[in-house]
Amino acid sequence: MDFGLSEDQVLLKETIRRYLGSECPTTRVRAIMESESGHDAALWQGLADLGVPGLAIPTPHGGAGLELLDLALAAEELGRACTPGPFLGCAMASAALLASEDSDAKARWLPAVASGRAIVTVALGEEGGVWDAAALTTRARDGRLTGRKLLVPAAAVADAILVAAQDGDGPGLWLVERGAPGLEVAALRGTDMTRRVAAVTLGDAPGVVVAGGRRAIDRARDAGLVLLAADAYGGARRCLDMTVEYALTREQFGQPIGGFQGVKHQLADLATELEPALSLWWYAAHAYDHIPERLERHAALAKAHLTDLYDRAARVATELHGGIGFTWEYDLHLWFRRAVFDRAFLGDAELHRLRAADLAGW
């Protein structure tokens, strides 16, 4: 019985945190997010050199052979540092590929993702708040895909997109390569400028099926839910830390504002909610590899709860910072914006709570 991080995991977090601290301060975050593509290949390659995209990819496919928990610890650090890039798309795509039986696709794409040579993402959500495999309207027929996907992460820089669609047998995943005829990727402007999304339109675009059934789609979604929860925790924690630090230095009425009980209690309440919430997503991440029957429900609970908390943390932080927290120059809004993404992507808190209730058999 050991519900804690291993030494290697602590080291992994420290390594990523140190790397991002020196290579991705908020000045660079801002430069990347204000760039056309929102993607910095050098930064991503640096993370790939640390092994980040391949953490949960088995060693035969060029990864570190670790678990989703390790990947989620990386997500926590990326969230903490507000790091831009295609992490989420690649992680979800890897999860999907690992659940596929297509050894050619695995051999071709997993090592490329792990090494940072290729960016692969997943196109799941559709118009009308649809994120469930059973409700997809994108159609596959004879290796051709037709439909429209909204909110595809990192699609504009992706070498391949795993498209969730339905054919006569039900849902499955088809791989569409960059530049395929009939594939249109239209960048969308998002509130969170660190993780770009695009609308992907498929007009009879050629795709290769890589997984039949909904399992690969579900694995990608559940990995995504856990990683969003971890990102949210990292971001919320950072909001708390920034605000504590600000409250210790900023003076008002002749004393640090952190000495006012009103401020102290708001921060104490936030810390009280955040501290145990760590174990909620740790558990969901652990379940991904070890307790599959609990995964879906706990991933849903973790995503809903942590992204709600992130929103709250960003609000409390902004409010307690006062005017400066509302400026563009001050970094706080980077996390505020990121919280908006975490809350919305893959469906909001209510959607996942109602799913969790269904899955509990209530």
Partner: protein, 403 residues
């Protein structure tokens, strides 16, 4: 209790309507007017609008608390008439009293503390919008705590030489003048030693820089003052009394109904949004969780609306607003935040799209409103300051202990 206006007031309303019909016959633009559209005519200061305002002042409809000799219409205080005028001018989209900090904050200050020369020079032009003002109170690191102001003014050869920095100055790029609080007696502590100065914005040494806020736009400015020389008699009230002078300003209440009116529009927009957006193949408005939250918000909104009428009635009867007046700001900003937050939940996954993005419901304007609702929580006295005021002045609890 009677929500209808008495015959006397209904006659007054008819008279206002007739006046508007005769003198402001622009056709309303019709459906789907935005907030900007709504307030648009209010801020028009072209020749036609000015001519209309002069007529309306002559008739006693605008600037009723300002003496005629300074350009007002000098009417006895009557909150109900003021409300009727505001309602009818809004309905007709006619130029109303100029919004902004000149008429609402500077003019009452000058009326109370200004010299005769200052009153004559500034009030009339401010009321007509030919002099525009910005407010120079906030400084970096001194938001709610004006006692810690650092901008200094030193008297030198008949001029105040001003050095320092102001922040969150809206309209600084358009304004001809700024009314500002500066420290003139640095040896005095806190609130003592602050003076209230009128500073022309084209004074050499003044540099206005747009300030981007978290939404990405720059609706505010920073104003840097470096050896800006301001004539000595541009001080309002006595030297060192600026804190008192500026506080007197705040006593002049703004319209009591207007705030809830805008919140109602936002809320109605939210309901329409919930009717338009689909999730899982059906309109979000059919989701009981959303319906429940909408009804919870509407109860608070109705409370805010009639709270406004209650305060208006207190004013009309010449009574103090008491605790009821102190809670209004905190109540409405919290409500505004919660409405914006529910809107984010209504749009669901597409809430992550930025304002202006065509694929976002309502062009993502609710995301913008969400960020602004936070800004409003912060502005105008942060929530914790409001809570202290309510606890101390409203409930009679002790002042904070100080170290």
């Amino acid at each position: 209790m009677n929500l209808a206006y008495s015959a006397e007031y209904e006659r007054f309303r008819t008279e206002v309507r007739r006046f508007l019909g005769e003198h402001w016959n622009e056709a309303p633009s019709g459906a789907a007017d935005s907030i900007a559209d709504l307030t648009g005519a209010h801020v028009r200061t072209d020749a036609r609008a000015t001519a209309f305002r002069l007529l309306a002042i002559e008739r006693g409809y605008l600037y009723r608390h300002v003496p005629r000799r300074y350009g007002g219409s000098e009417q006895p205080g009557d909150p109900l008439k003021s409300t009727i005028i505001a309602e009818e001018f809004r309905r007709a989209r006619a130029p109303f009293e100029i919004m902004g900090q000149g008429p609402s904050m500077l003019v009452p200050t000058l009326l109370e503390h200004g010299t005769e020369a200052q009153k004559e020079r500034f009030i009339r032009d401010t009321l007509l919008g030919t002099i525009r003002w910005c407010q120079g109170y906030s400084e970096p690191g001194a938001g709610s705590d004006l006692a810690s102001l650092r901008t200094r003014a030193v008297l030198d050869d008949g001029h105040w030489v001003v050095n320092g920095q102001k922040i969150w100055t809206s309209n600084a790029r358009e304004a001809e003048w700024m009314f500002a609080l500066v420290r003139t007696e640095p040896e005095k502590a806190k609130h003592d030693g602050i003076s209230y100065l009128l500073i022309e914005m084209n004074t050499p040494g003044i540099d206005v820089r747009p300030l981007r806020q978290m939404t990405g736009d720059a609706d505010f400015n920073e104003v840097f003052l470096e050896n800006a020389r301001v004539p000595a008699d541009n001080i309002v009230g006595r030297r060192g009394q600026g804190w008192v002078v500026s506080r007197s300003t705040l006593k002049h209440e703004r319209a009591l109904i207007g705030g809830a009116h805008l919140t109602r529009r936002t809320f109605d927009g939210l309901v329409m949004l919930a009717q338009a957006v689909e999730r899982g193949g059906r309109p979000v408005i059919q989701d009981p969780v959303i319906r429940n939250r909408l009804a919870e918000l509407e109860a608070r909104l109705v409370a805010a609306e009639y709270h406004g009428y209650r305060l208006l009635t207190l004013s009309a009867r010449g009574n103090d607003h008491g605790l009821g007046g102190m809670v209004t700001k905190l109540y409405s900003t919290t409500l505004g935040y919660d409405i914006a937050k529910l809107a984010m939940d209504v749009v669901g996954d597409r809430g992550l799209l930025a304002p202006g993005e065509p694929n976002a419901p309502a062009m993502g304007m609710f995301g913008l409103a969400y960020m602004w609702s936070l800004g409003v929580l912060i502005a105008g006295g942060a929530a914790n300051i409001q809570r202290n005021i309510i606890a101390e002045r409203g409930l009679g609890l002790p002042r904070d202990a100080r170290k």
